[in-house]
């Protein structure tokens, strides 16, 4: 900056008129800073900004993308702050055990944004439409048949008892306007105006892909009541700048780094702490010696001081990983599992038992830049029990690709989705994706997992999940290191909150549309 002043000062010798004029023009901006004041606008800052055109099929396949769409399209049921399902487009619902069918009482007098009436046929149409055009967030495979009993009632027959249906389908599937989507045959590429006709509390005014900004306007005749905020704005800001933007009042809510929460608390802002929905997980190549041996995995678990990991790499903002995988704040959590307290001697014993007492064992830990500090700490810990770790840092996609092809010894990565229906446990043990442990050698565990999906009754399902967690902790197909906290700050205009168990099928974004409604 000194040089620009230097230049202006030396304007005399820069007689080249163009440059001098340009610099004076820019400096005139100092006094004029565009502050905008228009009627009640609620601004939320986001570090990525662009999550795609907020129509069901065109938003990006990430949590925030779904949430921006959920402001426009409603689902049959929706979670309130406590995570319990409340009626949205469906007023009431019941499950007929013997017929394996759900009956939904639809809410009368609901209109689409274009004035058309919302009827049962829209629901039936949406189920059939999703069969033809699969929507990644909702697996309608389990639905056998959908029948509109009358304008206000819909009956959905399932193939088999399927506990996650109520949350992962009824609570996640956006209901599409039949009169519009019936003539859209390539929904993934369709980004016209009418693709955004929904029944939700907000209508989209503008979406700018490059700037990563969204502007919503409230839907005055929303059936649950008129939203408190007239306009809702999403803007993109660099992570480090969001705290400043909030303090300057340019932004009403946004993610903040852990260190800043005290300053915001003093200034009267509300700090929202996310639940333990995301976990950093250490996976082993179960097809290779020595990782296929249970004792080796346990030795590793004993050899890593997970508490120190939380205190240092997460700077105390997080919770020690539960070897049973399900996070402590989840209703399905079962505490009595082996906790693998940090115990280097036990680890060395186990290793000696396996015959690795002598020379140091050289292993490679694959990870991405985000976990490089964790990797360094783990390397220090394992050195104490005679394992010398070589850390290989690559970009996320390469890490995921190598994990998928088993081209690794140990890999440190992380994923979310732990708040929703425990169906995620199945995905993460038996599933085919690179996040999953792909652990099939424990028959008992496999059966329990299949069983838990079919139990509708909560307490019974909890029973089964407790056993699952017990076996998981013993076998340790993967070791959850910690659950990090993430923080959002908001002023007190609208009381946003983290929905317990995450929105819809478990999205940890503190933007529940119900928070805009009294």
């Amino acid at each position: 900056m000194a040089f620009l002043f230097f230049l202006i000062g030396r304007g005399a010798f820069v007689r080249n008129r163009l440059t001098t004029f340009l610099l004076i023009l820019i400096f005139s901006l100092f006094i004029f800073s565009a502050c905008n004041s228009n009627p009640q606008v609620y601004t939320i800052a986001d570090t990525t900004g662009d999550w795609g055109f907020p129509a069901p099929f065109t938003h990006y396949n990430r949590g925030p993308g779904y949430v921006r769409m959920s402001l426009i399209f409603d689902t049959l049921l929706w979670k309130d702050e406590t995570g319990n399902l409340v009626g949205a487009l469906a007023k009431d619902w019941e499950y007929i055990e013997e017929e394996k069918a759900f009956i939904f009482q639809l809410r009368p007098g609901v209109k689409w944004h274009d004035g058309e009436y919302f009827t049962a046929s829209d629901v039936v149409f949406t189920f059939s439409y999703l069969k033809k055009h699969p929507y990644s967030w909702v697996d309608t495979g389990v639905v056998k048949e959908v029948v509109a009993l009358n304008d206000e009632e819909v009956k959905v027959y399932l193939e088999k008892d399927y506990a996650p249906f109520i949350v992962n389908v009824a609570g996640t599937m956006p209901i599409l306007p039949e009169h519009i989507y019936q003539n859209i045959d390539n929904p993934l590429e369709y980004t016209e105006e009418d693709a955004l006709i929904g029944t939700g509390p907000f209508k989209l005014v503008d979406y700018n892909k490059e700037q990563g900004t969204y502007l919503y306007e409230r839907n005055d005749n929303y059936y649950l009541g008129q939203p408190k905020v007239e306009r809702l704005r999403f803007i993109k800001l660099n992570e480090q700048m969001i705290p400043q933007a909030i303090l300057r009042g340019e932004v009403n809510a946004g993610p903040v780094p852990p260190e800043m929460i005290d300053t915001f608390k003093e200034k009267g802002y509300t700090v929202l702490i996310s639940d333990y929905n995301w976990n950093a997980k250490l996976k082993f190549n179960l097809r290779q010696e020595p990782f296929s041996d249970l004792r080796f995995r346990q030795a590793i678990a004993y050899g890593i001081d997970r508490e120190k990991l939380v205190n240092i790499s997460q700077r105390g903002h997080g919770l020690e990983g539960n070897p049973g995988f399900i996070p402590p704040d989840s209703p399905w959590y079962y505490p009595e599992v082996e906790q693998y307290e940090y115990n280097p001697e036990k680890a060395r014993e186990l290793l000696k038992e396996m015959g690795y007492g002598g020379e140091t064992l050289k292993l490679e830990l694959l990870t991405s830049a985000r976990f490089s500090s964790d990797a360094e700490l783990i390397k220090n810990d394992l050195e104490k029990i005679g394992i010398s770790l070589e850390i290989r840092v690559l970009d996320d996609k390469t890490v995921d690709a190598r994990t998928q092809e088993w081209a690794f010894q140990m890999v440190l990565s992380g994923h979310g989705g732990l708040g929703g229906d425990p169906q995620f446990v199945n995905n993460m043990v038996l599933g085919g994706s690179f996040h999953s442990a792909r652990y099939h050698s424990n028959q008992e565990l496999k059966e329990l997992l299949e069983k838990q999906l079919t139990i509708i009754d909560v307490s019974e399902r909890k029973e089964v999940l407790a056993q699952i967690q017990k076996i998981y902790a013993e076998d340790l197909p993967a070791l959850t290191l910690y659950y990090p906290n993430s923080y959002q700050v908001r002023d007190n205009q609208v009381n946003l909150y983290y929905t317990l168990g995450g929105l819809a099928s478990g999205i940890p974004v503190p933007l529940n549309k119900l928070s805009f409604i009294e």
Partner: protein, 323 residues
């Protein structure tokens, strides 16, 4: 210009296009995974996978994909981005103006100021002003654009609050006309100064060295004998003669026009191409990568082509192959 040269350029373009196609595919990690992989909540149902692979043309053998890609380019359709789910051309055209505004302007300003300061400093070789400027620039040269960008943002954005904290313009402020222009400039100022400060040192140095060697030339003595005002000598005689190396350097630097400002764009959340390219590569979004590199290749080859044309204009002694 020689016919040989045009063949060279076409050959280079073909090679670049094919590299654009094959290089990204060498990167480990498959696009489907990157689109679906990240969020554990999404279960990739088998039918969804089949439908997607068909739509992205990944099911066809590699050479057929290459053929479609080539015919696409000829027809001017750069394909469809998997991740952003939009035609690549629109994505590029969306980000291009902002990039040209930021990096283009930065390149012009830094070259212009670097050139002027280089001439002034070279002319006063060895005097305090020269050594001061040189030391100053050397000091400045030591800071990477990451640090300068952040330093400016912290100082002027956060502490003094004179400038916005990011973005290319105040979103949805319904500004039009001049006020919109001012708003855009207001947002542009910090990232632009950051880029200028990082680019300026090298242009200044190159000019200064060229000017210093030129001062020894007898035609400078002739000019002084002709009673030409010192300022005119500096620019009409010394300046014009030192244009050649500057143009070469700017030609080379144009190569980094698109990807050079990645760090500045991240810090200032500025919607330029750098970020687009970065996310495309990390997300293994092949059509977008191909589209971006094709645009970059064409623009750079054109600029090289143009730079070569103006060489004889700048220095008549240059036969048309030396540059």
């Amino acid at each position: 210009m020689g016919r040989k040269r045009i063949i060279d350029y076409l050959l280079a373009l073909v090679i670049v296009i094919s590299l654009n196609f094959f290089l990204p595919r060498l990167l480990p990690g498959d696009p489907l995974l990157s689109i679906y992989g990240e969020d554990a909540l999404i279960t990739m149902t088998p039918e969804a996978k089949v439908e997607l692979t068909r739509r992205m043309g990944l099911d066809k053998p590699l050479w057929e994909q290459f053929f479609n890609y080539l015919s696409g380019i000829v027809k001017g359709d750069l394909g469809y981005s998997y991740y952003f789910q939009g035609p690549v051309l629109d994505l590029l055209l969306g980000a291009l103006p902002w990039t040209l505004l930021l990096t283009g302007l930065a390149l012009i300003i830094s070259t212009l100021i670097g050139f002027i300061l280089g001439v002034e400093s070279g002319w006063r070789k060895g005097r305090l002003a020269d050594q001061g400027l040189l030391t100053g620039f050397m000091f400045l040269n030591g800071f990477p654009d990451l640090v300068i960008g952040l330093f400016l943002l912290l100082l002027f954005g956060v502490v003094l609050g004179l400038f916005p904290l990011g973005g290319a313009m105040t979103p949805y402020s319904q500004l039009t006309g001049v006020s919109l222009l001012l708003d855009v400039l207001h947002h542009l100022f910090l990232p632009l100064s950051a880029l200028v400060l990082t680019e300026i040192a090298s242009c200044y140095l190159l000019t200064r060295t060229t000017v210093v060697t030129l001062l020894e030339e007898p035609f400078i003595l002739t000019a002084r004998a002709k009673g030409i005002k010192p300022k005119n000598i500096r620019y009409r005689h010394v300046g014009r003669n030192s244009l050649l190396p500057i143009v070469t350097r700017t030609g080379v630097r144009l190569g980094r026009l698109f990807t050079g400002a990645l760090f500045i764009e991240t810090i200032f959340a500025y919607p330029g191409m750098g970020l687009l390219i970065y996310r495309a590569i990390l997300g293994r979004d092949f059509p977008l990568i191909q589209g971006v590199f094709f645009l970059v290749a064409v623009v750079i080859l054109l600029i090289n082509f143009f730079v070569e044309l103006i060489y004889p204009r700048i220095d008549p002694r240059v036969k048309n192959n030396a540059y």
